[in-house]
Amino acid sequence: MAIFSVYVVNKAGGLIYQLDHYAPRAESEKTFGFPLELVLRPHDERVLVAFGQRDGVRVGHAVLAINGLEVNGRFTGDGRDVLEYLSSPANFPVSIRFGRPRLSSNEKLMLASMFHSLFAIGSQLSPEQGSSGIEVLETDTFKLHCFQTLTGIKFVVLADPRQAGIDALLRKIYEIYSDFALKNPFYSLEMPIRYPLLLGQEQQQGPASPPPVTGAALEAAASSPLNV
C-alpha cells in the first residue's frame, strides 16, 4: 500500500484519530552464538541494536522475541532483564527476533503532539512573510503531508514518496471528517473519534442515511484506486 498512515490532530495537539495501513515492517529471526556480535542498548522501553548489522538485522531494530517468546519491553516473556540474559554465555545459543519496533498508542499520541509543535515552529522560523506551518516533510522512505483547516485541525498522511494525489486525499478526508463532526450530534469537537460504527466494515463508501461510517470511510478513502 502506498499510503502508510493517517493521523488527525486537534487544535491542542491531541490525537483524535489514527489509522495505520501498511505491510508489516521487516522482521528477522536468527540463532546467535555467544558472544553476540551486535551491540545492544536500552532506549525508552525497549532494547535496540546500537551498532552491528548482519542478515537483515539493522541498527535501530528492537529485540522483539527471544526463543520464540515475545519480550515485554526490556524484559523477556518470563520476567528476566533482556540485556542481562544476553550477556551470560549459559543462555546461548539463542534465537532472537529483531525488527523495526511498532509504535505503541502512547508513542503515537506523543508523536502527534510533537508534530503539532514542529508545524508551528516551521512557521515561526520562516524567512518569508505569511508562511504556513509544515505542509510536506520528505525523507527517503516516506513523505508526510499535512493539511491544517481554518479551525486548526490537522490531517496528516504518511505515504510513499512517489505517491501522487495526496492533496486530493487530504481534502476528501476533511470532507468525511466534517460530515461526521457536523452531522453527529453526539460527537464533541476535539475529542477522540471512538464510535463503534467507525470500526469494522471495510468497503463502505460515502454517505448513507444511517450516520456516516467515518472510520470505515477513511479506510476506504485510503485504499481507494488512488493508491497503486
Partner: protein, 145 residues
C-alpha cells in the same frame, strides 16, 4: 528562485555559521534563540522521522516545505548539519549541500589549523567563498524588492 538563508551546525548544536541573502521576515527572537530553536526543531524532526518511518532509513530527513519556503537538510556522519532555506521552486539540492560541506567547510575550516572546530567560524575567507558559491547557484537570483 532564490536562497533565503543558510545555517551550519556542529554535532553539539553550536551554530558555526549563519548567512542570509534574501530574508523578508525575522523570527522575532534574538539570533541565539533562533539558532537554538532551529537546532531543536531539527533534532526533534530527526527523532520523529526515525520513529515514524515504516522502513529502515538510509538518509533520513531530507527537506520540508511550507506554503512559502522550503528547508533543505544535509547531515554528515560527523554530525555537521547544513541547513538551507530556499523558495518553493527548488528541487532536491542534497548534492549542493554536500558540496558546501566538502569544498568549502572542509577546505577552508577543517584544513585550516588556525580555525578551531566547535565554535563559530571566524574565517573571512570561508565566509566569502561560501557567499560566492551560493550566489553562483543556478537557483539563486537576487530578487528586486
Amino acid at each position: 528562485m532564490t536562497v533565503h538563508n543558510l545555517y551550519l551546525f556542529d554535532r553539539n548544536g553550536i551554530c558555526l555559521h549563519y548567512s542570509e541573502w534574501n530574508r523578508k521576515k525575522q523570527a522575532g527572537i534574538s539570533k541565539e534563540e533562533e539558532f537554538k530553536l532551529m537546532y531543536g526543531m531539527l533534532f526533534s524532526i530527526r527523532s520523529f522521522v526515525s520513529k515514524m518511518s515504516p522502513l529502515d532509513m538510509k538518509e533520513g530527513f531530507l527537506s520540508f516545505q511550507t506554503s512559502k519556503y522550503k528547508l533543505h537538510y544535509y547531515e554528515t556522519p560527523t554530525g555537521l548539519k547544513v541547513v538551507m532555506n530556499t523558495d518553493l521552486g527548488v528541487g532536491n539540492i542534497r548534492d549542493v549541500l554536500h558540496q558546501i560541506y566538502s569544498y568549502i567547510y572542509v577546505e577552508y575550516v577543517v584544513k585550516n589549523p588556525l580555525c578551531s572546530l566547535n565554535e563559530t567560524i571566524q574565517s573571512e575567507l570561508f565566509r566569502s567563498k561560501l557567499d560566492t558559491f551560493v550566489r553562483s547557484l543556478p537557483f539563486f537570483s537576487a530578487r528586486a524588492g
